[in-house]
């Protein structure tokens, strides 16, 4: 199963959710934000190399802490040499090896987001409970629907106070997982680690576990 974690808007914590979901599922995470990848990766071949035909998908997957990651390249030159459409076969190859794969989708409706959704069987949009973030998530959700990536849950992330959750649910027409703003998750992210591993008892980590269970149910 290939799960695309998206949402369309930058800064809402899509990558943090993707990393933690990968950790909770024991699945590798592909950083498909070709222009602004931010999952930890260290050294070695990366997704740019794979999409340019310089490395095989499995060669570029490495273990970072407790998660397997296929990190993205960071340079303009290596981005320029990519063939974004190879994302579909790349994701399929990683799924063949590992069973389940999580894709960390880029923000914005660019072709890399499109190919990630085209490859995906399941879709998890991440948004904050602000009108602008929800509007962007709605647009990406429409694209996911067109590309046959079924929505599993929508994540309302970094929640503080009492935002209009019902309005978000109605707007995205999906069951929600509400993840509160979380210092442990943020600190773990800064260290390049999933908070589900470093602070498993935090509310945020437990909500990610709930999301992982929903993905497992959808897989069945």
């Amino acid at each position: 199963m290939i799960v695309a974690v998206g949402g369309g808007k930058g800064g809402v914590g899509t990558s943090v959710v993707a990393l933690n979901l990968g950790a909770a599922l024991g699945a590798p995470v592909i950083d498909a934000d070709l222009a602004m990848g931010d999952l930890p990766g260290g050294r070695g071949p990366d997704l740019h190399d794979v999409l340019a035909g310089r490395a095989k998908p499995i060669e570029a997957v490495r273990t970072v802490g407790s998660v397997s990651i296929l990190p993205c390249g960071r340079s303009l030159a290596s981005l320029r040499s990519c063939e974004p459409e190879r994302l579909v076969e790349t994701t399929d190859a990683v799924a063949d090896e590992f069973g389940t794969v999580v894709i960390d989708c880029p923000s914005g409706l660019t072709a890399d987001a499109g190919f990630a959704l085209l490859a995906a069987d399941a879709y998890v949009p991440v948004t904050e409970a602000t009108p602008s973030a929800v509007a962007v998530a709605r647009r990406e959700r429409e694209l996911a629907r067109t590309l046959d990536a079924g929505i599993v849950r929508a994540v309302v992330n970094r929640v503080t106070g009492e935002p209009p959750i019902d309005a978000v649910r109605e707007s995205l027409a999906a069951e929600l997982v509400v993840v509160p703003e979380s210092e442990p998750l943020a600190a773990a992210w800064d260290a390049g680690r999933p908070g589900t591993a470093t602070a498993p008892d935090s509310t945020a980590a437990q909500r990610i576990e709930t999301l992982a269970e929903a993905v497992v149910d959808a897989r069945r």
Binding site: G11, A35, R54, S75, L76, R80, P84
Partner: protein
């Protein structure tokens, strides 16, 4: 009714065929166009591959109600009249969406060639090993990661945490100076070293020093 109009132009033994398929009905139609010229279709290509809907015999696609779709291909044969015919038209109950063609219409995430700094790898020269120790490279990447966290901080808590990691505001100047030295040392390297230099340059300019000073 669904109809096709076509034009031809011949250049050095190659015929360029332009067609306009028009669906003047109120229903979507699945249409197959067959090339009548005596050679295979040279389909329009995108990123080196034929665009969706094309085969060596012609084109097949769904034309929306009222749509006029302009198509074109080339063929190494002399022109005939007509160069292309509709061999199948079938009303479809619902506009079936060709997922691939939807994605093809999204913006390309890659930078245009002129925006890429020259001589910085990315074209198969990654095997070139910078003459810099692996440990040093790791230290440089760790400094870049520190700066990336500083640049990415959008809340006071994030900025404070990122500053704590480098030993506080007092260390910021030294970190940025070291990063500039890293960039200068790696700049002439191709491949991986060049990529690191580029990351260092980008992140160095992204760290908002005044804002961090104000927060601290």
């Amino acid at each position: 009714m669904v109809a096709v109009e076509s034009t031809t132009a011949s250049v050095s033994g190659v015929t360029l065929v332009g067609c306009r398929v028009r669906n003047s009905t109120t229903d979507p139609y699945r249409v197959r166009l067959r090339n009548e010229l005596d050679a295979p279709v040279l389909a329009p290509r995108r990123r080196g591959r034929p665009e969706s809907g094309w085969t060596e015999h012609g084109y097949e696609g769904t034309i929306a109600p009222g749509e006029r779709r302009t198509l074109g291909y080339a063929c190494r044969a002399t022109a005939t009249t007509p160069p292309v015919r509709i061999v199948r038209r079938e009303r479809v109950a619902e506009m079936s969406i060709d997922a691939r063609s939807v994605v093809d219409q999204l913006a390309d995430p890659r930078p245009p060639q002129p925006a890429v700094p020259p001589g910085k790898g990315g074209n198969g020269d990654e095997a070139e090993t910078p003459s810099i120790g692996r440990d040093e490279l790791d230290r440089i990447e760790s400094r870049i990661a520190d700066c990336e966290r500083l640049a990415a901080a959008t809340t006071v808590a994030e900025a404070t945490r990122a500053l704590d990691r480098i030993g506080g505001l007092a260390e910021l100047d030294a970190l940025l100076r070291r990063l500039e030295e890293d960039r200068a040392a790696l700049e002439s390297h191709g491949g991986y070293g060049g990529e690191i230099a580029e990351r260092a340059a980008i992140v160095r300019s992204a760290v908002a020093v005044e804002r961090l000073e104000a927060i601290a």
